[in-house]
Structures are given as structure tokens and as C-alpha cells.
């Protein structure tokens, strides 16, 4: 039995109605058709939405657009055609370079051009001239760490003659300490469109080691040879090594064959300089350019001052009294700037067949009183060697160009 919630009268179980007070006693739910949007209202709403969408779409279509996909390449289309716009570092105008990693040597300064290329998408033709006419301004910005000890520097973008394929170039100056950066090219079109290209650069410092006479025995040729061999055995291949030599005379020879060590000579207060009186040999097994700075090589007319089978760059050195002062052979490429070649039978003998041209300038050298100052027997390049500012005097033969090498001696001095 249950009771009526309204009057308390006893009711049978399951009763829905109270016979005493004539009221319903069961739970009831209100039933009504599901709400729906009238079709006319629905259609009107859809029509309004469609019209609004078309209006907004049309408005957006006529707005200036920003082309920014976070990479070094954008495909841009206007009424004249479709263009591939990209930023690269090399001479390939079709290769966008978004991320670039390069190794840097400590204390060195580097310059790298970032190049803006514009190609017709379909034909691949260079479209820089047509496109640039529609450009209002091009800017370059660099995002880098605020605490970089030597921050990146960059030049205003402009066309440069050394890279005629590029529409514009910005020169980037940096060192190994400059840290990573992101370069942003921003192209403001005359129609209001904006195009952005991004290039990230990561620098990997090359491990560099310096050896000083204060710390390491290098007073004699034997000690120096021991040091060079030890470095060759212990230091990683990619490392760059500087040996700062004392102002002593090394009477014994030196052979460099395992590691590209750079020899830096010195001068004491009495004017004594680091000097070698026996042959210094560079084997063909060396990978990097070897630098000799400020060293004298003094011979007795019987032998070769420097015999190089790999790449060598001399600066501020003198070679005198040798049968051959400087010999480049095998796969060598040798350069000399600000050096003196004096009293040799042959000052500089180039007889190499190798493949890597480091630098074709031979600037501000002096060739004096040699039998033959420069003997060009084989030179592994077709381009001309430039003897700018180099002085020839008192030589039996200034240049014996046996291989017919192209030369630029327009700024050389012959006395």
C-alpha cells in the first residue's frame, strides 16, 4: 500500500490516480516534438551565411597577402605568372638553403653571401629583372642571441656583380664566436604583399690548438720534429694547430706529414727571426692548407728551402740562398704574399698537377737576384696568376713561363 502525496489517502500499489482527492499521483514527463529550425528560416540563414562567406572571401582575396611558410622558399603567383623565390648560399639558383651548418676556425673572420634568387616557376628562367620591378623594398634582418660576443653583421641587400644570377645579396660577417642565427629576407611588394624567407645558420667551431715555446720544448729541429710528430699522432684530424716558434735557427730539417700544423715565426728584440737552414717538407697526405708566417729559410745553394706536395700559404717569409727556394709539386697549391725570394737559383718553382686552387694571388712579394725568379713548369689551373705589387729586380730570368700559364703581371714591378 502507498499513500496519496496530496491527501494521504491509502492507495493500492501501482495506482496513478487518487480516488479520494481526484489528483494524479504518478510521475509524468512532458512530451513535445523535437525542436527544429523551420526550413524557410534554415534556408534564409544558409543564404545569409553564404552571402557573408562570399563577401568575406572576396574581401580577403583583395587584401594584401603574407607569404610566410617559415622556409627559404616561397611560390608566389601574380597576374604575370608564378615565381619561385628562394634564399640560398651557393651559386645554384634553384637550391633553397633553409638550414646551413659550417665549420669555423677560432679567431678567423668569415664572410658569406646570402643570395636571393627569383625564377619563373614553369620555365625555370631567371626572373629577377621582371620581378624586382614589382618590388618596393627588400630588407634583411638577423635574429641572434643578445649575448653573442661577436655578433653577426650583415649588409643591406643589393645586386652584386660577383653573383650575376642572384637578384640581391646580403654579405654576412661572422666568427666562430658569433653563435647561431636566423636570417630573414622580407620582400615588400608594390601591391602590398609581403614575402618572407628564412635561413638558419649553425656554426661549428673547429677545435684549435696553440703550442708555445714557453710550454713545449721546440728549441731544436729535433724537438720541433718530435712535437710535430706527436701532434700528428694525438690531435684529431679536423683540428687546426698553431706552433708559435721561438726566434731560433733550426739547423736540421723538418717534415710535416700527419697533421696540417701552421708554423708562426717570431722576431726578438735584437732582430733575430725564426730561421730554418735545412729543407722543410710537406707531404702529400695533408688535408688542410698549411700556413707559414714570418719565418726565414736560409740555404746553401744545394737543396730546396720548402718542398711542398700539399697546399701551403706563406706570408711574410723569406727564402734565400737555395737551389730552389719554394717548390710546389704533386698535388700542391702554393701561395706567397709579402715574401722575399733572394739569391736562389730558382726562387719559386711551380710544378704541380693537383686539383685544388686555394688562392691565385701572389701579392707584394720581392724576387731579387735569383737565377730564375719564377719557374712555371706545371700550374694546375687555367685562370691567371696575379702578381699584384710583386717586385722583380736583378734576376737572371724574372718569369720562365714554360707551361704558358695565364698571368696577370699588370701590377707587377720589373726593375
Amino acid at each position: 500500500m502507498k499513500t496519496c502525496p496530496h491527501c494521504g489517502a491509502p492507495l493500492p500499489d501501482g495506482a496513478s490516480f487518487c480516488h479520494n482527492c481526484a489528483r494524479a499521483v504518478n510521475a509524468r514527463s512532458r512530451v513535445s516534438p523535437p525542436w527544429h529550425m523551420p526550413r524557410r528560416v534554415l534556408y534564409s540563414t544558409l543564404l545569409i551565411v553564404l552571402v557573408l562567406a562570399l563577401a568575406v572571401g572576396g574581401w580577403l582575396y583583395t587584401r594584401p597577402k603574407v607569404y610566410d611558410n617559415g622556409t627559404a622558399e616561397v611560390i608566389y603567383t601574380d597576374q604575370d605568372g608564378t615565381y619561385q623565390i628562394l634564399a640560398g648560399y651557393g651559386t645554384d639558383r634553384f637550391e633553397p638553403v633553409h638550414e646551413y651548418t659550417t665549420e669555423c676556425e677560432e679567431r678567423e673572420e668569415y664572410r658569406m653571401p646570402s643570395r636571393l634568387y627569383i625564377n619563373h616557376q614553369e620555365s625555370g628562367a631567371n626572373a629577377k629583372e621582371v620581378f624586382i620591378r614589382k618590388v618596393e623594398a627588400v630588407t634583411v634582418d638577423v635574429i641572434q642571441s643578445d649575448d653573442s660576443p661577436i655578433p653577426w653583421r650583415w649588409s643591406e641587400p643589393k645586386a652584386m656583380s660577383f653573383a650575376p644570377d642572384a637578384a640581391m645579396i646580403s654579405l654576412l660577417d661572422f666568427t666562430a664566436q658569433s653563435g647561431p642565427m636566423e636570417l630573414i629576407w622580407t620582400i615588400h611588394m608594390e601591391n602590398g604583399d609581403i614575402i618572407r624567407l628564412y635561413q638558419k645558420v649553425e656554426l661549428i667551431p673547429i677545435p684549435t690548438y696553440h703550442y708555445y715555446p714557453e710550454d713545449t720544448p721546440m728549441e731544436t729541429a729535433e724537438e720541433l720534429q718530435t712535437l710535430v710528430d706527436k701532434i700528428g699522432a694525438e690531435v684529431e684530424e679536423a683540428a687546426i694547430v698553431y706552433i708559435h716558434l721561438p726566434p731560433v735557427t733550426y739547423t736540421g730539417g723538418l717534415t710535416i706529414e700527419q697533421c696540417s700544423v701552421n708554423l708562426i715565426g717570431s722576431t726578438d728584440e735584437k732582430g733575430r727571426r725564426t730561421t730554418f737552414t735545412s729543407t722543410v717538407r710537406l707531404s702529400s697526405t695533408l688535408d688542410n692548407i698549411v700556413y707559414f708566417d714570418d719565418i726565414d729559410f736560409v740555404g746553401n745553394r744545394n737543396s730546396i728551402g720548402i718542398s711542398a706536395a700539399s697546399r701551403l700559404h706563406l706570408t711574410g717569409c723569406s727564402l734565400s740562398g737555395w737551389k730552389t727556394g719554394l717548390l710546389g709539386y704533386g698535388y700542391a697549391w702554393v701561395n706567397a704574399d709579402e715574401c722575399v725570394f733572394e739569391d736562389n737559383l730558382v726562387g719559386f718553382h711551380f710544378n704541380a698537377t693537383g686539383g685544388y686552387v686555394s688562392d691565385r694571388s701572389y701579392l707584394d712579394n720581392v724576387f731579387r737576384n735569383n737565377g730564375t725568379a719564377v719557374l712555371l713548369e706545371q700550374v694546375p689551373t687555367d685562370t691567371d696568376l696575379i702578381f699584384g705589387g710583386t717586385r722583380f729586380s736583378g734576376n737572371g730570368t724574372d718569369i720562365d713561363n714554360r707551361c704558358g700559364q695565364a698571368l696577370d703581371i699588370s701590377k707587377a714591378i720589373f726593375e
Partner: protein, 216 residues
């Protein structure tokens, strides 16, 4: 006694203590729909207060609707389009409730609609589908105007679309006083009536919700 048939009787009764009036139905057959209506309220259908069964015999106590009979009102005046729309939508709600319980009314006509203030209530519904003699002219034809759908004459099984047919006729009668075959109301409502009263049920509105959309 309101109505009597071989399968049952419908009486108007009064509660002694409160004086309230109720409709008491006694019938045989199925009372399933009444049982379902016990648990719900629809303002456009009489409330079912109690449904008791003993074997095949059932007693149902339902609300007595006090108001103006639409059939009587139409004898003196027609309805305005606004009134017609309001009444038709309310009858749609009543029919949706019945159809959602798999029941059809099968006798939608002005005489079965009571106007209680602004509220239109559809009475005398054939929730059990057993009380009404099939194809009886007395219950399905109002004068010369036929409210019953063709299939209710035994041409095919009647279903909820029969109620849609009848409601179409009702709308036309409210607006013109005539069966649509004689005088079809003009305008959009005329097109609604025309679709409701297609001979082929497949060409009518297929659910009461579609008809409601069209009327709104």
C-alpha cells in the same frame, strides 16, 4: 453514457468529493498506448489518469476536456489563417505524441477538437486501435466532407499518413468550409493541403514533423 459499442463503453463521470468530471473508458483489446500515456503529459491530448487491466478487459480514466467544439464553431464561422495555423500546429503536436507511441488517431476532424482558451486538444483518440468500427461512415465522414484517407476505406493498411491526410482536410475546412476536392484554399496553405491529401500516401508528408515544418 457518451458512446457505446460491442467492445466497450465511454462514460462521463463526476467525482463526488471534488465535483470534477472525468471520462471513463471500458473496453477490451490492447491498452498499451494508454499505459504509455499514463507517464506523460501533452497539453494537446487529454491526460490519462489511470489505466487498469484485468485480462483482456481494461478501464481507463482520462481527463474531461471542457471547451468549445471546433466542429460546432465552424458551423457559424471560418477560422482565420493565423488561427488555422495555431490550431493545426497544436494538433500536429498531439499527433506526434500518438505517432511516437505507434498509435494513429484515425479520426481527426473538427468534432474531435476542443478549444480550451488558446489550447487546442485532440480528443477521442484511437490509441488502442480497437474501438472504432472500420470504414464506418458515421465516424469518418463529416456531412459531405470526407476526412478519412482513402486507405482507411480498406484500400490499404492505414498508418500515420492517414492522420496527415485528415489534418490536411481539416486545415482546408477551417479556412474554406469545404473539402479540398471541392474548394482548395489558395496560397501556400493550399499547397500544404494538396500534399497532405495525395491519394498515394507515399506522396504525402511522411512524418508529422515535415508537416509542421511546412505549416510553420
Amino acid at each position: 453514457m457518451l458512446k457505446e459499442s460491442p467492445r466497450g463503453a465511454v462514460r462521463l463521470i463526476r467525482h463526488r468529493a471534488t465535483g470534477q468530471r472525468f471520462v471513463l473508458r471500458q473496453f477490451t483489446g490492447s491498452a498499451e498506448v494508454y499505459q504509455r500515456l499514463l507517464g506523460c503529459t501533452c497539453p494537446n491530448l487529454p491526460a490519462v489518469f489511470e489505466a487498469v487491466s484485468q485480462g483482456d478487459r481494461h478501464i481507463v480514466l482520462e481527463e474531461y476536456i471542457q471547451g468549445d467544439n471546433l466542429g460546432e464553431l465552424l458551423q457559424s464561422a471560418l477560422c482565420s489563417p493565423r488561427e488555422t495555423r495555431d490550431i493545426a500546429l497544436q494538433i500536429c503536436r498531439a499527433l506526434w505524441t500518438l505517432h511516437s507511441m505507434s498509435a494513429v488517431h484515425r479520426d481527426v476532424k473538427p468534432e474531435n477538437i476542443i478549444l480550451r482558451g488558446d489550447n487546442a486538444v485532440l480528443i477521442d483518440f484511437d490509441a488502442a486501435r480497437l474501438h472504432k468500427p472500420e470504414a464506418s461512415a458515421g465516424t469518418q465522414i463529416l456531412g459531405t466532407v470526407g476526412f478519412a484517407a482513402p486507405e482507411q476505406y480498406g484500400l490499404s493498411q492505414s498508418d500515420l499518413r492517414s492522420d496527415i491526410y485528415s489534418l490536411g482536410v481539416l486545415i482546408n475546412v477551417m479556412l474554406t468550409g469545404e473539402h479540398p476536392s471541392k474548394k482548395l484554399v489558395e496560397g501556400r496553405m493550399g499547397r500544404v493541403v494538396q500534399r497532405c491529401t495525395q491519394v498515394n500516401p507515399a506522396k504525402r508528408y511522411q512524418t508529422i514533423l515535415r508537416l509542421m515544418e511546412a505549416i510553420e
